[in-house]
Symmetry: C2
Subunit: 247 residues, 2 copies
DNA sequence: AAGTGGTCTAGACCACTTG
DNA sequence: AAGTGGTCTAGACCACTTT
């Protein structure tokens, strides 16, 4: 095998399909292919990695299973952009006044440039002296607030957002990150807990103080696995529902 | 191909690995292999289905991905029994007084033979006149109740439990179902919602009335996909935490 | 028509488990 | 030593998309 194809740190005792998979994620993380460009064809990759098609396919099937790429017959293999639009619907059942399922509208209320607390600094792997951009955001349905969001971003990567007028932030954050800062969110980890509404929750979300509130903490990562956004979302537990399959 | 291998309803336009996968789940549902017995070897299955090893492996890899079977090199392929022990830990972080993670002890408090309400009857696919076994159960850590459970079982399948002394139910339900009624839980769907503690919750779980409570509704299925148990579990939201990965 | 991924073959050799 | 799954080959033909 042509070992020169692989990264220096690769453990050559691993199966070849595993080495190829690891090499492909490394190259995707390096931005070698964007979500719009197709990866090389199976034939080309077979030649480059000096393996047979079966081995190569096994590597790519791993990436498909992980959600890193999608394949379409006749078109090619593409880096996948995760669909966060539907993310909220995993947890909250939002309906408009007419009972239609709706995507809440996002609006940034406040921005400050601050040093984050230790928990956020650790999560974003920031130096103790580094500053972050902190955004306060609400999400509305029929002009009524349904979610409160606090967002922290490591300053250097998102410098463009430190000066952009708040009115230009638009409805969705992740397309903005991509447009204004060339930062693509590739995956995320969310942790759910339940709290009781404090004064601020009660005022913003129009619920009683002490009533249950869902808190979703999210750490969003780029393709290299580097954390780029820390976000906490709070919403009334009334609209909360989550379903899991167990095997 | 030897079409005689497949069930009459099989759609022969599907890929062979898909047909083989479907046939294997059908046979597993029929109880052809228990979780202790190995399935036939790859070589035997290749011969039986008249396909090459690559095609057969693809079928079995689907089952592995779905969690229906597990494979062990040198040993064989086995029907998988889902591990529900850890299920609670997906939602609740239970710790003993010493801070150790613990499995709560289960105790059945009450049993009645009743006609279930419509929601439960529908979930268990029961006839309007059929009766069910209703169990009330608590789960304890350090002798303190942490979870309240209400369980409904369709009478015919679980007749043995209608007369079994409550003291003989033991700690875990699913091993009991298997032992006493030969019913194996193969999968389940759980739905989480948040409520506020009522009087009974408050008394049993030692929380304040109105404080947040997690409710987990579970429908458990056998290998054939038939619902066999309906269960609702309630616990204080204080100990609740759930984590999800998004791609 | 050319190029892509999707399905499938008929083997080989290796690593692990059990008698 | 025999039997199991795990890895890998070097192709073939098919179905779909694009030119």
């Amino acid at each position: 095998m042509n070992t020169a194809s692989f990264h220096a740190n690769a453990d050559l005792r691993l199966p070849r399909y595993q080495l190829i998979r690891d090499d492909l994620v490394r190259r995707i993380a390096n931005g070698e292919w964007t979500p719009e460009q197709a990866l090389p064809t199976e034939a080309d990759l077979c030649e480059a990695y000096v393996v047979s098609i079966g081995t190569l396919r096994k590597a790519i099937e791993l990436l498909v299973a992980e959600g890193v790429v999608t394949r379409t017959q006749g078109k090619g293999t593409f880096v996948r952009r995760p669909r966060f639009d539907s993310s909220l619907f995993r947890f909250f059942r939002f309906k408009s006044a007419e009972g239609q399922a709706v995507q809440p509208i996002g609006r940034v209320l406040k921005r400050e440039i601050v040093k984050p607390n230790k928990a956020i600094r650790d999560a974003l792997q920031m130096e103790p002296t580094e500053k972050s951009i902190h955004l306060s955001r609400v999400r509305l349905i029929d002009s009524k607030p349904v979610l409160r969001e606090e967002i922290w971003l490591a300053r250097p990567r998102f410098d463009a957002l430190a000066t952009l007028p708040l009115d230009d932030f638009g409805n969705l954050m992740y397309p903005l990150y991509e447009r204004a800062c060339r930062q693509i969110v590739a995956s995320a980890t969310e942790t759910l807990t339940v709290e009781q509404a404090n004064q601020e929750d009660a005022a913003t979300l129009h619920v009683d103080v002490g009533s249950p509130v869902i808190m979703v903490n999210r750490v969003a990562l780029d393709f290299a696995g580097t954390p780029i956004e820390w976000r906490t979302t709070r919403g009334a537990a009334t609209g909360f529902q989550y379903q899991v399959e167990i095997r």
